[in-house]
């Protein structure tokens, strides 16, 4: 199954880290990514620019409404994501638990809606 791991963290405390501390976290991320890639479980993933760069788009009555800011102001902000392949929820949550930001922030694990594969024979 495919799972999206949404990585939420507290931006101010991320910003407050020293450069060395941040490099340490990046290194951990890289190690995890490489390990998942070698097992064919890493499908995609990235860090996101901070929410100050966010833009919200809505279309109402065929009118495009473009505004500044994230969709909702939350205690923690979406800071990145992993798209992974896992055999079940337990495997997905085990991977989520190894994401460095899980120790300070929150990882939301969401299964993807997978489209039907035509059956063979």
């Amino acid at each position: 199954m495919k799972y999206m791991l949404l990585i939420y963290h507290d931006e101010p405390s991320w910003d407050a880290l020293t450069e060395t501390e941040r490099q340490q976290v990046y290194l951990e991320y890289r190690t995890l990514r490489e390990e998942l890639t070698s097992r064919g479980q890493f499908l995609d993933g990235s860090q996101l620019q901070p929410i100050t760069t966010a833009t919200t788009v809505r279309v109402r009555d065929s009118k495009e409404l473009v505004t500044d800011g994230p969709f909702a102001e939350t205690h923690e902000q979406l800071g990145g994501y992993f798209l992974i392949e896992a055999k079940d929820l337990d495997e997905a949550t085990a991977i989520a638990a190894r994401i460095p930001s899980a120790r300070t922030g929150t990882i939301e694990v969401r299964p993807l809606v997978e489209t039907a594969v035509p059956a063979t024979a």
Binding site: Y3, K87, L89, D90, A92, T93, P111, A116, P118, A119
Partner: protein
């Protein structure tokens, strides 16, 4: 006849459904197949009488119904992804030589328990699913027992089953590093079911009494499946020992009777024996835990011939052990009450007041009731009355309210 069927159904439900779910990968298909088998059994057994081994008969028929349904679905909707999932399970399944053979894989029930109590489901959903699938209770029965509308409960079950399927909650025994946590969740669900039946027991609502019986049955299943887990044994012992006092807890007027005042001849001796044996067995495994300690305390009460023969010193020691494991203020409260009995009311009261000083217990009825009881025993009636009044304002349970009113009447100046 109806009794045989119902009894077999109850006893075999969890066993059969667990295997059907593994084969089909679907809670719904498994439920339907078992339901059909049950209907087939009603008409056949009425005509011919029940078979020698009704459980095996039901299993066989349910398996056939399921395989038929899977084949039907497979040819009809080959293109649906869900079916490729179920079909892949079907391929792994070798159709068993049925009837007298043992087609149960005991691991299936264990898988089922862990899936039903998976931490990604809410506690309410865990309880409902466990009772529905493992316990074989109907949606109506569960809704009545938990005093929620049937539609709410049905919804809860649908959502839970949907989440299991869509989120990929595994149907397997958790890995070694997870099993302790997961087992704790299973035990918590079973104990919650028990307490739901026990706490509200006014002796009038039979379905609620059924909940205690059901929790005990589930506790037995857990012990049977994982007999070397001392907390499983402790939990079963605890439930049996508490349940043994059921008849004595409430008098003919429906009033709550405290442990001290209970007629001990009403206690169920066979449940006590079983509970005491279980807790001894558990403690010999030398991995002490919450349920074991609570059961050990209950066992000391159970073995005291009369209230004043209670070994309070040992109870105090067990509560101290329990306090090391949990930081629950309620445990601290019980500890203080035990200290009062073993080392004097004054000392117990001082302890209770120190616990109450800095905790959420101020809004807890039992805190005020316990404090009031000690004040009463110390003949400080004015203070006791105030504490009883506070306790009274904090509980909505009628039985508890009546108990406090009775106490107030006893010490009220005439």
């Amino acid at each position: 006849m109806a009794n045989t069927l119902e009894q077999v159904f109850r006893e075999e439900y969890g066993r059969i459904i667990a295997t059907l779910i593994r084969i089909s990968g679907s809670f719904d298909l498994a439920e339907e197949a078992l339901q059909e088998a049950f209907i087939a059994a009603v008409s056949k057994w009425e005509r011919e009488g029940p078979p020698n081994n009704p459980g095996a008969w039901l299993t066989t028929v349910a398996h056939r119904k399921l395989l038929d349904a899977l084949r039907r679905e497979r040819t009809r909707t080959d293109k649906e992804s869900e079916l490729t999932y179920e079909a892949s399970r079907l391929r792994q399944f070798v159709e068993p030589e049925l009837f007298e053979d043992n087609v149960e894989y005991s691991d299936d029930r264990l898988r089922l328990i862990f899936t039903c109590c998976h931490p990604s489901l809410t506690r309410e959903a865990q309880v409902a699913l466990t009772l529905r699938t493992l316990g074989g209770l109907t949606t109506t029965e569960i809704a009545h027992a938990f005093l929620v509308p049937e539609t709410t409960l049905a919804q809860r079950l649908v959502r839970a089953k949907q989440k299991i399927r869509l989120a990929g909650i595994p149907y397997e025994i958790p890995s070694l590093e997870r099993i302790a946590d997961r087992l704790a969740a299973v035990e918590a669900v079973i104990y919650l079911i028990f307490n739901e039946g026990y706490a509200a027991s006014t002796g009038q609502n039979l379905i609620r009494n059924d909940l205690c019986a059901e929790a005990i049955r589930l506790g037995r299943v857990l012990c049977e499946l994982l007999p070397d887990e001392p907390e499983n044994l402790g939990l079963l012992a605890l439930m049996l020992l508490q349940n043994s006092r059921r008849e004595a807890r409430v008098n003919k007027q429906g009033e709550l009777v405290t442990l001290e005042e209970q007629d001990r001849s009403l206690w169920n001796a066979s449940e006590i024996d079983e509970g005491v044996n279980l807790i001894q067995k558990a403690l010999r495994l030398h991995r002490v835990g919450n349920y074991q300690l609570q059961a050990a305390i209950a066992a000391i009460h159970a073995e005291a011939k009369s209230a004043d023969k209670t070994d309070w010193r040992q109870i105090v020691a067990l509560y101290e052990e329990l306090m090391r494991l949990t930081s629950s203020p309620i445990v601290a409260l019980n500890h203080a009450a035990a200290v009062a009995m073993s080392e004097g009311f004054e000392k117990g009261l001082a302890l209770i007041e120190s616990i109450g000083a800095d905790s959420a217990l101020q809004n807890y009825y039992l805190f005020h009731a316990s404090r009031a009881d000690l004040l009463r025993r110390l003949h400080r009636h004015d203070e006791a009355l105030v504490a009883y009044a506070t306790a009274l304002s904090l509980t909505t349970n009628e039985v508890e309210q009546n108990y406090i009113r009775r106490r107030i009447e006893e010490i009220q100046p005439q």
